[in-house]
């Protein structure tokens, strides 16, 4: 009897038994009211479901146990060797596969012509192990050539590509993340297919991969309705990583000011302007002027001002000071900080004016902070204002006398951007 016939036989058997007992149950409660019949039916249903859930708990626990054991074995067999191959300073970055085999303590004769990883689970666990090692030690510069050789030795690229193409969504996400972490080539065909995926996370990962590829039309993949409707902070983090990586590798970065004209969403425009600041694209600052004049979006104006200030675009000072009075309080603060950063000496009166005339304590305090940051001239003015300050305003000046408070005043966003960003494998 073949498998299908056997299966059909058992299914028929279960159906026959099921029908028999259901019929019995039906007859047993036939004369009872509807509520009782329904309750009896539901009780049977719950009992069946209890059995199914118990089986599922058992299955899931077994899967987890099996995975745990495989993980333990793989770590024991390859873990230490791989750590040495990827990070040991005594080992060169140009190892052959046979050298790797001997470093991992495997017998050459037993390994040659055989697959090192036997099944899907082992491959998955192995990839996860290398991935964990990489993300755990991401600060340390790995040995890239050894990593490629290792992937080749264990036939990982093919496995991950298959997972990206044919796996379920969870497998796709982990496979594409690993391909990126291992810096393996991902074919445009695969990426393009993923750009149409229903899962937002998969689409995002695919979009970031296109930025990494570094073609002329870097942000083409983002120019979609999907992105306009779904952009988030995480995108900025990831695009930032990719551009940082390209910068580190000496590749050209896109003209981000030009890209602001390609998107409709003000949030995306804000992100691009922030990126300009982060990647110090001074030469493109004048291109933001039409956007500054045309937009009424508060946040966008603030971002443009911050960028101009940070990138020392001196020609912007007049435009900013002209626009000052019409802006909201938050935008005024952004303009003041930008002007303070430019330090041209032309608009210091703007700070004293804001301190003296604003009703918003935040604006007043920020005006004083701008004076403090303006150098000797500004601090002199600050002292003068303090001498003439009323008792209720003295608290504003106390900040500039206490070193603990000053160091704890939330960092200016511009300073945050100045921090070094580690280039990640992503």
């Amino acid at each position: 009897m073949d498998t299908i016939s056997l299966l059909t036989y058992y299914l028929k058997l279960i159906w026959a038994y099921g029908s028999y007992y259901m019929w019995n149950l039906y007859n047993l409660f036939r004369d009872y009211p509807f509520e009782v019949r329904l309750s009896a039916f539901l009780t049977c249903l719950w009992l069946i479901m209890i059995i199914v859930v118990i089986c599922e708990i058992g299955r899931q626990t077994l899967i987890k146990e099996r995975r745990k054991n495989t993980r333990k074995n793989i770590y024991k067999k390859y873990g230490e060797g791989i750590k040495r191959i990827l990070w040991d300073s005594d080992i060169s970055d140009d190892l052959s596969q046979s050298e790797m085999i001997s470093i991992m303590g495997l017998d050459q004769r037993q390994v040659i012509g055989k697959r090192l990883l036997n099944n899907f689970l082992e491959k998955q666990v192995f990839c996860r192990m290398v991935y964990d090692l990489i993300i755990h030690d991401y600060m340390r510069e790995g040995r890239n050539k050894n990593l490629y050789q290792l992937m080749d030795l264990f036939v990982i690229q093919k496995f991950l590509e298959d997972d990206v193409n044919y796996g379920n969504n969870w497998n796709k996400v982990s496979a594409i993340s690993m391909l990126r972490a291992f810096k393996l080539y991902i074919s445009p065909w695969v990426i393009n297919k993923l750009l149409e995926n229903k899962s937002k996370r998969i689409r995002r990962l695919a979009m970031y991969s296109t930025v990494r590829a570094g073609s002329e039309n870097d942000l083409d993949a983002f120019e979609t309705d999907f992105y306009e409707k779904n952009n988030c902070i995480y995108d900025e983090i990831m695009i930032g990583y990719e551009l940082q990586r390209r910068k580190k590798n000496g590749m050209q970065l896109p003209n981000l000011a030009l890209w602001t004209t390609r998107f409709n969403s003000p949030d995306i425009k804000c992100m691009l302007v922030r990126m300009m600041r982060r990647f110090e694209q001074r030469e493109f600052c004048p291109q933001l002027r039409p956007l500054f004049d045309a937009t009424h979006h508060k946040k966008l104006v603030e971002e443009i001002c911050r960028t101009w200030g940070y990138l020392q675009y001196k020609d912007s000072e007049d435009a900013m000071s002209e626009a000052f009075t019409l802006q909201s309080d938050d935008t005024k603060v952004a303009i003041m900080h930008a002007i303070a950063r430019l330090r041209s000496g032309k608009n210091m009166k703007l700070f004293t004016y804001s301190y003296e005339n604003s009703s918003n304590p935040h604006v007043r305090f920020e005006a004083l902070r701008c004076l403090y940051n303006y150098g000797r001239e500004g601090r002199q003015k600050l002292k003068e204002l303090e001498l003439n300050a009323e008792e209720k305003d003295k608290k504003f000046f106390a900040f500039f006398h206490n070193p603990i408070t000053l160091s704890k005043i939330p960092l200016d966003e511009l300073q945050i951007y100045h921090q070094t960003i580690e280039t990640s494998f992503y």
Partner: protein, 476 residues
């Protein structure tokens, strides 16, 4: 006439039970869907950490923990908060004019000095006397706020909100043990959301019977004491089925006061915590939602399935009784204060689905159960009980409750909410709890709820009594 009334009541109770069972099944299904979605969208802890820790764009979080007379545990608890792993956070301890040595211990241990601080009273709280910071760079994340006595956690939380400098804040109790990765998990959902995430709820469990090492739970166990064991089961059901299921519709019945993340701006614009409310956490969430809906702004709410926080639950019957009375009064208060949201399509699914559901399934449940119980006694005395029918209906409800516990266990295994995989004893304890719960625990909780409602109606003055903590097992 009595017969007609009897029939109407029977049908009503039966339909009500069916509605509750059906709604739970819907939530189980939605929770399963949410877990499938989160399996793809929420990566493992190490990946989240790897992606977020080195980015300058990772948003900052303030952890607000009000403290009142906590001299025994304050230093351990603050040290535990310091163990949180996140690149950009501050800890704000709000001392609510403790009468013991809490403040003195904090000053000595962390070398605190008073600093000028421009505190804008964005939300109402008792006046802040001083703000202190440490001169030791190791504790540069710590801010201690010393304020006048407010007597409520809500007042302390509001004072913390007035001082907090970050866009997001987490409100917690000073004696909660927070998982070091908790902020990463919650903030991952925030940075991945297109619409502003105004609140994130995280799964909480009982710390009773757990072992704590270096300010973190090193060994999670199911409580073996009578009352905490049932509460563990309740918490798991509530977080892994209820809230996770609702979060799939972008609605949440509440974000626990013990551990929840909020958008500071939205909280300030909604007026902060209500100091007079007995259920300040639910009240604030509803006011936040009201504010967002009235302003026509889109928003998101989310639930993290993994356990992020451990808290000590009531150990004795007296403590549990007080807690449940407070909860029942809080629920009544919420229902009456926010009645304009009910069946109001302006507030989306909150108005159309969630609040009517809370009214029917949570508010009315103790009343129906109480009436049903009394009715049953009366029928027994009269000899009018059909025991066969009773047994069948009871079996339907009883097996459903066991099935629900099994689903909780399954979801825990699938979502890795808490690491009990190699401890079948934990699951067996939960199963045992669910088997005896309908007889040994549920009637007591029902009684407390009804008593709480009566107290609310009679306007008995509510007294906030903090739970007497027994402390957790510590391993040095």
């Amino acid at each position: 006439m009595w017969v007609t009334l009897y029939n109407i009541f029977s049908i009503m109770v039966f339909s009500y039970s069916l509605f509750i069972l059906l709604s739970y099944m819907v939530l189980v299904f939605q929770s399963y869907r949410a877990q499938v979605r989160l399996k793809v969208d929420l990566p493992d802890d190490e990946t989240i950490k790897y992606l977020m820790r080195s980015s300058p764009l990772t948003p900052g979080v303030s952890i607000i923990a009000p403290a009142f007379n906590e001299e025994v545990t304050i230093i351990d608890n603050v040290n535990s908060l310091m163990h949180i792993d996140y690149p950009n956070f501050e800890i704000i301890i709000v001392n609510d004019a403790s009468t013991d040595r809490t403040m003195e211990l904090l000053i000595n241990e962390y070398k605190l000095v008073e600093v000028p601080y421009d505190v804008a009273m964005k939300v109402p709280s008792k006046p802040i006397k001083r703000v202190l910071k440490s001169t030791d760079p190791r504790y540069n994340k710590l801010v201690v706020v010393d304020k006048e006595h407010g007597g409520r956690k809500a007042d302390g939380s509001n004072a913390g909100i007035n001082v907090c400098a970050n866009k997001y804040f987490v409100c917690t109790d000073v004696d909660c043990i927070i998982d070091p990765m908790a902020l990463y998990r919650m903030m991952w959902l925030v940075v991945n959301s297109h619409d502003p995430m105004i609140g994130v709820s995280a799964t909480m469990l009982m710390s009773n019977n757990c072992t704590v090492e270096d300010g973190r739970v090193s060994e999670a166990r199911v409580p073996t004491r009578y009352f905490p064991m049932f509460q563990q089961l309740e918490y798991l059901r509530s977080f892994l089925i209820g809230k996770l299921g609702w979060s799939n519709f972008n609605i949440l019945p509440n974000i626990s006061g013990g551990f929840g993340l909020f958008d500071t701006d939205v909280v300030v614009k909604s007026g902060g915590y209500d100091q007079t409310s007995m259920a300040e956490d639910v009240d604030m969430l509803l006011r936040m939602v009201t504010y967002m809906c009235n302003s026509g702004k889109p928003f998101r709410l989310a639930q993290v399935p993994k356990v992020c926080c451990w808290t000590e639950g009531p150990n004795t019957m007296k403590q549990l009784y007080r807690q449940r009375i407070r909860w029942a009064r809080g629920l009544f208060e919420i229902i009456s204060h926010h009645r304009k949201l009910f069946v109001n399509s302006h507030y989306g699914l909150f108005g159309i689905v969630l609040l009517p559901y809370i009214f029917i399934a949570e508010f009315l449940a103790p009343i129906f159960e109480g009436c049903g119980f009394l009715f049953m006694i009366w029928l027994t005395i009269k000899g009018g009980v059909n025991w066969e029918t009773t047994a069948i209906i009871f079996a339907m409800i009883y097996f459903f409750s066991i099935m629900l516990t099994l689903f909780v266990i399954l979801f825990n295994v699938v979502a890795d909410a808490v690491d009990w995989h190699s401890k079948p004893k934990a699951y067996l304890t939960l199963l045992f709890a669910s088997i005896i719960e309908p007889f040994a625990y549920h009637p007591f909780v029902t009684y407390c709820s009804n008593f709480g409602y009566i107290q609310f109606i009679r306007k008995t003055t509510a007294i906030w009594t903090p739970i007497q903590r027994k402390g957790v097992k510590k391993k040095s």
